[in-house]
Amino acid sequence: MVKIFILLKKDFLLELRQQHTFFGILLYVASTIFVLYLAMGQPDSAVYNGLFWMIQLFVCVNAVAKSFLQESKGRMLYFFSISSPVHFIIAKLIYNAILMLLMVLLSLILFRILLGNPVNNSFQFIGITCLGGLSLSLVFTLMAAIAAKAQQSAAIMAILGFPLIIPQLLLLIRLSKSSMGEVFRAGALMQISLLLIGLDLLVVVLAIVLFPFLWKD
């Protein structure tokens, strides 16, 4: 537990010291949404919903990709000698989840300012976006680990991750329609949310089980 915390602290310290990466992503989010605003003005709810999740997908690829790609080969070797792979992946999962939650909430605010607000039930939508950010970051953390090992970084990560994320993304888009006024069958909302949480748990367990095999070289 302490080890996970130390690894987590190291990731945050690194983030604070090399601020250009963090602000790079922030600028990426802001400029994409600004371009969208210039291109579309204030779209209706279906378009808004689709755009929102697509932007989250691309933000996630960029934000999570660097968490593994920034580690040089020598540094990975150092981590290998001082910590266990399970601690390392758990720390990365938590770090990426926090980073992605931050990004999701920031882009939600930007969307609200620039692209209007077709959302009826704000609290519900914030909950859904948090769940979505979590789901996206967990899947892409493992994909980034695989891509970092395959040494083809960003391109291979998109190829691997996009088909895998589609089921969760479709569920999220469907779920967000509920907070934009669509009426669901009783219990369906809970069912989809639980399914997403179940998928997240599955991804975490798989990441913990599979990462030790990626780790050794």
Binding site: I146, K149, Q152, L160, P167, L199, L202, L210, F213, L214
Partner: protein, 227 residues
């Protein structure tokens, strides 16, 4: 030439499928008419794909446990045959859809899920192609294969139950609800006599194709793999 019993069984089952499948009397249900015979070709493709990909998963786990390159080749060839079955399943499904739903592709949730499943495994092939070191390729692609399988199962087993679809089976309470693809227990007895042999026939054919490809690969790379 060695001839194994299951290869004979495969030939027999497929002969049965291609003769009896076209000749037996089938019940005419709604607008299906004679297209219901596609039952013996379309659905076994998905059984075949599931079977082949599950075997592939098994060999990937075996590879990670033993680090024997042989298992990696098994896993990759089985996955490739699985992709071919998936594409054939999509094609037979689209042709069937053309004559019953009116369009080759109507963005039905089940068509989309099946297409995504094929994409996931195509990504597996791309990942394998991106690395040259054999051990590294084997290990990383085994990890991806296992991860992909556990996303693939919810994709085709759970998601279709949540949404409305033209395809039989699916939502609870709908006709044949409960099973994501089949229309429940309304299969005619005579059709069932051809259907199950067809399922096993196609599955065995898939295993046969993969085993030939595995043997070819083993011969071509004899010096790399130590038995």
């Amino acid at each position: 030439m060695k001839f194994k019993w299951w290869k004979l069984l495969c030939i027999f089952f497929l002969l049965l499928t291609f003769t009896a499948g076209f000749l037996i009397k089938i019940p005419i249900i709604g607008n299906l008419h004679q297209t219901a015979r596609n039952f013996f070709f379309h659905i076994p493709m998905w059984f075949g794909q599931m079977g082949l990909l599950s075997l592939s998963l098994g060999f990937s786990i075996a590879y990670l446990r033993t680090e024997n390159l042989k298992y990696d080749i098994y896993a990759s060839e089985l996955a490739k045959t699985g992709i071919i079955f998936g594409i054939l399943g999509l094609i037979t499904g689209s042709i069937w859809a053309k004559y019953t739903w009116g369009e080759f592709w109507s963005n039905d949730p089940k068509q989309i899920a099946a297409a995504i499943a094929v994409l996931i495994y195509l990504a597996y092939i791309v990942l394998r192609g991106s690395m040259t070191d054999m051990d590294k390729k084997a290990r990383i692609s085994a990890v991806y294969n296992i991860f992909a399988y556990f996303i693939y199962i919810p994709l085709i087993m759970i998601l279709p139950r949540l949404v409305q679809s033209l395809h039989p089976g699916g939502m609870e309470g709908a006709k044949g609800g409960g099973n994501p693809a089949l229309g429940g227990n309304n299969l005619d007895a005579t059709m069932e006599m051809v259907f199950w042999p067809a399922v096993f026939g196609w599955l065995l054919l898939g295993i046969w194709i993969s085993s030939l490809k595995i043997r070819l690969y083993m011969l071509a790379n004899k010096n790399l793999i130590n038995e």
